[in-house]
Subunit: 95 residues, 2 copies
């Protein structure tokens, strides 16, 4: 859980997670969204992998990253629960 919070402490990495929320994306696609070099992005992907927040699958020359939602959810909600936070009710819930 420490590694998860460490991973979340960088805004670039948080944004990567948000992007992956929609669909898996390749290292290249992700890198395009940020004003930093590809090696730097690769290092960020590694931190996220170490924290088990994403996983990687190689297909030919490309590597596709996928969000591991449950790990993120457990860390975030687990910590939130310690403080007794209730989530805001969304429109979705009310349907």
């Amino acid at each position: 859980m420490n590694s998860v919070f460490k991973a979340l402490s960088d805004p670039t990495r948080r944004k990567v997670l948000v992007l992956l929320r929609e669909r898996p994306m390749t290292a290249g696609e992700l890198s395009e969204q940020f004003p930093v070099s590809r090696p730097t992005m690769s290092a960020h992907f590694n931190v996220l992998k170490e924290a088990d927040l994403i996983d990687a699958e190689r297909r030919g020359t490309t590597v596709t990253y996928r969000l591991k939602l449950t790990v993120l959810e457990d860390a975030l909600l687990g910590f939130a629960q310690v403080f007794g936070f209730k989530p805001p009710s969304s429109k979705e819930d009310e349907k």
Copy 2:
């Protein structure tokens, strides 16, 4: 919000927040709970103050720190909501 996640990235600081969840505590009381020096703890308190997660009140020679729950809640649940996490239903909720 970046400063909040930065603040949460250190286990000592997360534990300080957990301790303050029960009641406000002085710098000294908090420091006793950790195997680091008082100056180091003071630096951690500063990071938490910068992130607006705690506030300080001086009474005589002691300084009492208090958790600012709403700031923590907004950051945590705000981020969780981006991912559509629903919090686990607690026994409390069901009462």
